[in-house]
């Protein structure tokens, strides 16, 4: 297979005009937390719905001296993460890492890394459905008017219906949040466990939806509150009593692994980079002791 040569394309694949337009949309999004800014989503050598929104954000922001980390559902080595990393690296030549602390641009799907992010880091999230009001009304003109009026009754009614019929008002992933007491936004399909990490975070969160052509953002130190009724406060998934079988971590988000042969259930850190780092540290500690 022929490999892509860096000089065959502009730096970071997109032309400079496109990157500039996307950066303008990002600035607009940062200025109004949670507000969905429309942008001209570009064609990419990757299918729409496979992270093209996130890639365009990353491509517009990345510089030659940046260090990139790409994760897919917490995993550094999944097909989607590897393909995206390969595209970005082959058109920019930047360094990649699996260590969250070393990266300054992290592109992710479905997870926020376990390690708290710093002010000098940007987390780019890939978003399939940016519009929290889409289940309320199918028309874009109507949902924009509802956002303008801060009319979120429809979302609350859906949560109430869930509470009434299923006993819980909380969605497994993509539970809506209120950004800066103004806009309700979908935090991309991150598990509820990660929602509190958005609140008053040090880093910049950017959300890109390539198919839906929307960009939105949560700037550092912004108030982000998960929607919950007064008498049913927001709850994360309960990870109490679980432990990673590889690194022994507790109080993190776990993947559950079922062994059909033995019928046993194991838990493993969903964030593989974090797990590997812990394993290496434990190994180094042991070797040091010897």
């Amino acid at each position: 297979m022929e490999t892509i040569k860096r000089n065959d394309y502009n730096f970071a694949f997109l032309d400079e005009g496109s990157k500039r337009e996307i950066r303008r949309a990002i600035l607009h999004a940062i200025a109004i937390p949670g507000y969905q800014v429309p942008f001209g989503s570009r064609e990419l050598p990757i299918g729409r719905g496979w992270g093209t929104g996130g890639i365009q954000l990353t491509m517009s922001l990345i510089g030659p001296n940046d260090t990139l980390k790409v994760i897919d559902q917490g995993n550094d080595d999944s097909v989607n993460a590897v393909s995206i990393k390969r595209l970005i690296c082959s058109t920019t030549g930047v360094e990649t890492t699996t260590d969250t602390a070393e990266a300054n641009i992290i592109q992710s799907r479905h997870r926020i890394p376990e390690e708290p992010l710093r002010e000098d880091q940007v987390l780019v999230l890939q978003v399939p459905t940016p519009e929290p009001l889409r289940s309320v009304d199918a028309h874009e003109a109507v949902t924009r008017q509802l956002h303008a009026d801060a009319e979120y009754t429809g979302i609350w009614v859906n949560l109430f219906e869930q509470l009434l019929t299923r006993g819980s008002a909380f969605k497994g992933a993509d539970h809506p949040v209120m950004a800066d007491d103004r806009y309700v936004m979908n935090p991309s399909p991150i598990p509820r466990y990660d929602n509190p990490k958005l609140d008053h975070a040090q880093c910049l969160y950017l959300f890109g939806a390539g198919r839906e052509k929307k960009i939105y953002a949560v700037p550092p130190y912004t108030k982000v509150e998960s929607l919950a009724f007064d008498d049913h406060p927001f709850e994360q998934e309960n990870m109490e009593g679980r432990k990673c079988r590889l690194c022994g971590a507790e109080h993190v988000y776990f993947d559950e692994i079922f062994d059909p042969e033995t019928g046993e259930r194991y838990y493993q850190c969903s964030d593989t980079g974090y797990c590997l780092k812990r394993q290496n540290e434990q190994k180094a500690e042991k070797e040091g002791l010897r």
Partner: protein, 278 residues
């Protein structure tokens, strides 16, 4: 004696579909409200009305006379071409609420009015439970205590004689009469000062009609909510309303106490209407 102030009143309300021409602007007596020259439809033309606290005002007229359009205009489902309408509880009756912002319109719909449509599909979300449908009105008015809202939904279902164990059932599996009763529960959930009812008994069989009308009457007596009832059925108007307005071709042709209108109609159209009933 001090005169009571109306809870809602309108002045010169006009809803027109089309640009209009010199002919129809000067001729008010258009047949079926349609201009023969420019084909503009004058659905509602220069309508004045007042509804007093605790009163039921009936609006009667043939199909196409503009009665439902008037109600839809007051509930912001239809844009008025011109005219003014006021609510005594909104800015002390000093602000024409037909021209306010979309946010203010939502506030008025959620806090000050209730609407029961002829077609329950317009007033209810059929894929949500009846409990969530009722709670929608409470949530829209700022309710965020789920427990209280569930209790209130149960209370209202009980009030309209729907078994409370059907709280989680979707209205689409209910009969027409039950759907209307869920709509009524939703409309009165936060006890608005005014309730708008658009042909609520049309399409229901006689025994169900009687039940729904009894329910509306008891709600009006119990809560003292002022109501605007639209119907083409004079029997419904006779049973329900204190005062009646008769509409024809988008205009009000007669107005007065219901007994007076039915016993001694002055306008030719009202006389035909009453004689057809008797």
């Amino acid at each position: 004696m001090e005169r009571k102030k109306p809870v809602m009143w309108g002045r010169h309300i006009t809803v027109r579909f089309g640009e209009g021409c010199d002919y129809c602007r000067t001729h008010t007596n258009l047949e079926k409200g349609r201009c023969p020259k420019c084909h503009t439809i004058w659905a509602v033309r220069d309508v004045d009305f007042q509804v007093y606290p605790g009163e039921i005002l009936g609006i009667v007229g043939e199909s196409g006379s503009g009665k439902s359009t008037l109600l839809k205009t007051l509930y912001f489902d239809q844009q008025a071409t011109s005219g003014e309408a006021y609510l005594s509880l909104y800015h002390e009756g000093k602000e024409n609420f037909l021209n306010v912002s979309s946010q203010q319109k939502r506030y008025l719909r959620n806090h000050m009015m209730g609407m029961v449509y002829q077609n329950p599909m317009l007033g209810l979300r059929m894929k949500l439970s009846s409990g969530a449908n009722i709670a929608e009105k409470l949530i829209a008015a700022g309710g965020r205590d789920a427990g209280r809202m569930i209790d209130r939904s149960i209370e209202l279902l009980h009030h309209v004689e729907i078994p409370t164990e059907r709280l989680r059932d979707q209205p689409r599996v209910f009969s027409g009469g039950m759907q209307q009763r869920v709509q009524i529960s939703k409309a009165i959930a936060n006890t608005p000062p005014i309730l708008l009812l658009d042909e609520v008994t049309t399409g229901l069989d006689l025994s169900v009609q009687a039940k729904v009308l009894d329910l509306i009457r008891s709600i009006q007596k119990e809560l003292g909510i002022a109501m605007l009832i639209v119907s083409h059925d004079l029997a419904v108007i006779r049973m329900m309303s204190d005062r009646t307005m008769v509409m024809l071709g988008g205009r009000v042709v007669e107005e007065g106490l219901t007994d007076q209108i039915l016993e001694d109609p002055l306008h030719e159209y009202t006389q035909t209407l009453v004689s057809s009933l008797l």
